[in-house]
């Protein structure tokens, strides 16, 4: 690394193992989504089935996106494509937890669930 300014690079920009670490980070994130979705589905299913289904679908969808991107990006980046991920994917993955929090909060504040 040369200098402290991002992008100031004098080494040719070889990613080394960074692509692999990033793919693993996507996989860990997918697993986190899976775990949270499973927990939400299991816990909420007894009292609010619709909320449980929505939470699980949101979590599984985000997990699928994250896992698929990690798998594909690793291959593409090793093949020389090193561009940043599409912002729409980042947005979708960021919206996942927000939606999860929202539906769980709704379920929690509903009198039946409290």
């Amino acid at each position: 690394m040369t200098g402290n300014r991002p992008g100031a690079n004098g080494e040719g920009g070889q990613p080394g193992l960074a692509a692999e670490r990033t793919a693993l980070a996507w996989n860990r994130t997918a697993l986190s989504f899976l775990g949270t979705g499973a927990l939400a589905g299991r816990v909420l299913a007894g009292d609010a089935l619709v909320v449980a289904v929505v939470a699980t679908v949101v979590a599984l969808g985000a997990a699928g996106l994250a896992w698929d991107h990690g798998r594909r990006s690793y291959g593409h980046r090793h093949g020389g494509r090193l561009a940043a991920p599409p912002p729409i994917l980042i947005r979708a993955v960021a919206l996942g937890p927000a939606l999860l929090a929202l539906v769980i909060a709704v379920a929690t504040t509903t009198p039946r669930m409290g």
């Binding site: 992008g7 561009a83 996942g96 504040t109």
Partner: protein
């Protein structure tokens, strides 16, 4: 009313306007709007926003439009491709924030649905809802952080500062104190 003379006076700059606030199109003018970068997170900061001249781009991408919030549609269309290692690091940081938000949400879910009730009425909600709220907010802010960092790297600018760590630390500490208070009140 947003005062925008500084933007008008910087018309010779070419680049992108990134104003995270509603700005009347008439107060900016098309030329000024598409020819400078101003970084402001609220309307109150706009009059003093620092304008950063960018390199002259003969064919700037269509990243601005009239009225409302002016913003790039795709951060990848700006500037130059940075060192991929920095992009990867930015991506991993975003993912770490997402996992943090998921952990907070799972904690909130566990507190509100799995813990036995506290002796204090509504204790589980008092403790769990802030966790859920913070988890949701962090995930959305993580995206803003990723985008801002990616943009800064592509435009060869210093990385933007973020107070997410401080906010998270204060919130977690506050929730811990709240939990302690609930437990002590219950005994």
């Amino acid at each position: 009313m947003v005062v925008a003379p500084p933007l008008r006076n910087r018309a010779p700059y070419r680049g992108r306007v990134d104003l995270v606030a509603a700005i009347p199109a008439s107060s900016l003018g098309l030329r000024a709007k598409c020819t400078a970068t101003a970084v402001a997170s609220s309307a109150s900061q706009i009059p003093t926003a620092r304008l950063i001249p960018l390199r002259v781009d003969p064919a700037p991408p269509p990243t601005c439009f009239y009225g409302g919030v002016a913003r790039a549609r795709d951060v990848r269309s700006e500037g130059e491709e940075p060192d991929p290692r920095f992009s990867f690091a930015n991506e991993r940081t975003f993912l770490a924030w997402i996992r943090t938000s998921l952990a907070l949400i799972a904690g909130g879910l566990a507190v509100t649905q799995i813990l036995p009730p506290f002796d204090v009425p509504g204790g589980r909600r008092i403790l769990g809802l802030p966790l859920l709220a913070v988890g949701g907010i962090i995930s959305l802010r993580a995206y803003r952080r990723w985008e801002a960092s990616e943009r800064a790297m592509r435009l060869q600018q210093p990385l933007p500062a973020s107070n997410m760590l401080e906010v998270l630390s204060v919130v977690v500490a506050g929730i811990a104190v709240l939990a302690l208070g609930l437990v002590l009140l219950g005994t």
